[in-house]
Structure formats: C-alpha cells, structure tokens
C-alpha cells in the first residue's frame, strides 16, 4: 500500500478544491500498474466527492447543501465539548460532510487512474478556513 497525504490550507468557510491532478500524480508516483486508489479526508467537517468541474455546478452544490443544512437552525451540536475544551459551533459542516461522504475510489489500469470524461475529484471544505489533510491511498501491484 502506498499512502501520501495532501495538505490543504483552505481560505474560506465553504469551498470546493479540485484534487484530480494531484491524485493522478500520486498514482504515477506509487508505481502501481493495476489496483485501486482511494482519496480519503481525515476530517469530519470536510468531504470528498466526484462531480463535473463546472463553476455553475459548484455553485448549485453549495446552494443545495446550504439549503439542506441552513446556518440559522437550533442544532444540538452547539455546546462546550470537554474533549476539546472549546465550543462546538460547526454542525452544518458535519451535516454537509455527512451528505457528501468522506472518500472516493477509482480503478488503476495499466498505471492510469481510470475515470469518466466528466469526473473530477473535489475536496470540500465546510468549516473553513482550516488546515486540512487528505490521504491518497494506492493499492495494487
């Protein structure tokens, strides 16, 4: 198994960052010819998703998720957390991450990551700005 982290310093509260090229580079670096690659975020208020890389769709996804998890709502996740020593204030981030999921997979065939023509990999920030880590895990031979 070949594992390489990608560190991202997000700049805004919610944002979508393309990871496709970086993941392809890590697949090439791994030397794996046939196998699978998994892209996995280490956080619970971020997501990893696959979609078409269009500005209009990025906007629609953000609006859709904001409608599903509006900021102004009496969430339970708004209290002091003793394990952190700080107040939880990011329920919308957790809920948006729940909707998008935290990983994606692609097959690797003949050393190439195989994806559909419209498929791109996105890292989704739902509680930024923050320092984030995504793991790229390459398995195979």
């Amino acid at each position: 198994m070949f594992v390489k982290p990608i560190t991202i310093l997000t700049k805004t509260y919610n944002e979508m960052d393309l990871l496709t090229r970086q993941v392809e580079q890590i697949v090439a670096e791994s030397g794996v010819k046939n196998g699978m690659v998994t892209v996995l975020t280490k956080h619970t208020t971020t997501g990893v998703t696959v979609n078409e890389s269009l500005e209009c769709l990025e906007s629609d996804i953000e609006v859709f998720l904001s409608r599903m998890a509006p900021e102004d709502f009496p969430y339970s996740h708004a209290r002091m957390l003793k394990d952190y020593g700080s107040t939880a204030g990011n329920p919308t981030g957790h809920l948006k991450a729940y909707i998008t999921g935290n990983h994606c997979h692609f097959p690797i065939i003949d050393g190439e990551m195989v994806r559909g023509g419209a498929q791109d990999i996105y890292f989704c920030e739902f509680d930024g700005p923050a320092k984030r880590t995504v793991l790229v895990i390459v398995e195979g031979e």
Binding site: K11, R79, T87, G89, G128, K131
Partner: protein
C-alpha cells in the same frame, strides 16, 4: 478598524517548533485536538471574520505550573512577524520572584502594550495588596490591564478569584488605570455592568461562549442577562470585541456581535475604537 482584543496564540506555528512544548500548552490551557496554526491560516481566519488586528495574550503561570505557557518574548516574536496585524500583551505571575522586573522589561525592552493577569489561575485576588506595585507600574507606563474574569475553562482555576466584585477596589483606587474584565465577567455580567457604569476606567470584552452557538449565547448575554440598551446607551465606550480564540469561535462571534441590533456607531466603538482607547492608541 475591527480588533479582537483577546486571542491566545499558544498554538501559532512559529512558536511551536518543540512538540513537547505544544503538548504542555494543550494540557495547560485545556484546549485539545486543534493542532497548530500557520500564520497564513490565522490571516485567512481574520479575513473571514473581517478582523484587522488581534491582541495576543501570553500566560505566565510560573508559581502554579512552574513555567509560562507562552512567554513575553514569544509574543514579541509573533508581533515582529506581522506588526500590522498583531498587538502584543505581557504576562507575569505576580506571585513569582522577579515578576515586577520582568514586567518592566516587557514594557520597556519588548515594547508590549499591556498586562494580562489571570487571578483564577494565578491564585490571587485582584484587590490583594501584593498587586499594588504591578498596578503602579502599569500606571507609570500608561499600560492597561486585561484580567481574566469569571469562569475559566483552564485546569487548576478557582472562579471566585475572578469575581467582578473583587475588582472594585482596584478600579476605585486607580482611576487612571484602564482595566478590562475579560468575558464580561461571565456569568456575573450584571455585576460587571454595575462596575462599568460606576467606573469609567473599567472595560469588558465579549470573549465568552459557554453555551449554545455564538448567536444564541450573545443574544442571551447581551440582550437578556444584560439588556442591549444598557450597552447601546450607557456602556458603549467600554465594551470591546473579543473571541478568546481558539477557545471560542472567532468568525461566528464576530458575526454575532453585528447581529445584536446595536446602533452602527456603537458597533464601531465595540469593534475598534474602544480597544484603541483602552490600549492608549495603536502606536
């Protein structure tokens, strides 16, 4: 101008080269799972919150913990990395030997802008006679004192040391000394308001968020526990915005203060001008 008057830089990356020291800071402050923050992240956070400057607070707990959690010299280093964004305070442990000399060094050689004291953690009452030389030194150099007041989430703290009523003798005896009760002295916010309406040299900051979300807590604290009119009419020159970040949420608190329904002119005071007055200017 929008200033956050109470920020703990304990986890800023430039002063966390040593993992053992970072671990000590997590335990000493009882703040966990937050990692360290590159300055670029701090600036991103400031931009999202609309903040222009942060007031950085060290913490010297020599007599109770055996060391300073953040040293005055580290504050100076951070300020030098971003002098347009950071304002540095000093901390000394009044119960530790040499504290008065250390404070004078912080004011004269390090150029720090005020003194941060934490009665609950440093185990003294603000009106203790042993504090007199420190207050006199602050008056001599025209430096304000930021007191942690009310509840503290740090370990080894006794809340009674920071009860607002223990600050009255200080305010009365030193009318030229500007003092701030951090967190509005929460939960004793009415007692804090009482001190502020009586003494013009008493300020309070907004850096508490112990229940609910920022908006809900601010609405409870600043419209119900203390009626908004008290702040908007009578205390408008003595309240300063603060988040106590990373304990609490800087961006959401910065947004919440703007949604309380205060007059725009009062908001301008709370966001910036009162802090400038408290500091005695920004130079």
């Amino acid at each position: 101008m929008f200033i956050d008057m109470h920020v703990y830089p304990a986890f800023f990356e430039p002063i966390n080269e040593d993992p053992a020291r970072e671990e000590m800071r997590h335990n000493a402050l009882n703040i966990h799972r937050n990692g360290t923050a590159p300055l670029e992240h701090i600036f991103n956070q400031m931009r999202c919150a609309g903040l222009d400057k942060l007031c950085l607070m060290p913490a010297d707990y020599t007599s109770t913990l055996g060391c300073a959690v953040v040293e005055n010299e580290e504050i100076r280093r951070l300020v030098d990395l971003a002098p347009d964004k950071f304002i540095g305070f000093a901390s000394v442990d009044p119960m530790a030997p040499g504290a008065l000399e250390k404070l004078e060094h912080a004011f004269t050689d390090l150029g720090l802008k005020g003194l941060k004291l934490h009665p609950g953690r440093q185990h003294f009452y603000p009106d203790d006679e042993r504090l007199e030389p420190f207050y006199q030194l602050c008056e001599k150099y025209n430096k304000p004192v930021m007191f942690h007041a009310g509840l503290s989430w740090e370990p080894d703290t006794q809340t009674e040391y920071g009860h607002p009523l223990r600050f009255e003798r200080v305010a009365e005896k030193h009318p030229r000394l500007r003092i701030c009760l951090a967190q509005f002295g929460w939960p004793w916010v009415r007692e804090t308001a009482m001190l502020m309406v009586k003494y013009e040299n008493v300020y309070a900051d907004t850096g508490a968020l112990y229940f609910d979300c920022a908006k809900e807590f601010f609405v409870q604290t600043f419209t119900r526990d203390v009626p908004l009119t008290w702040i908007d009419r009578s205390l408008r020159h003595q309240v300063m915005f603060a988040s106590s970040n990373p304990r609490f949420e800087q961006i959401r608190m910065a947004q919440a203060i703007g949604e309380l329904g205060l007059r725009d002119s009062t908001l301008d005071l709370i966001r910036g001008q009162n802090a400038i007055d408290f500091l005695g200017g920004l130079d």
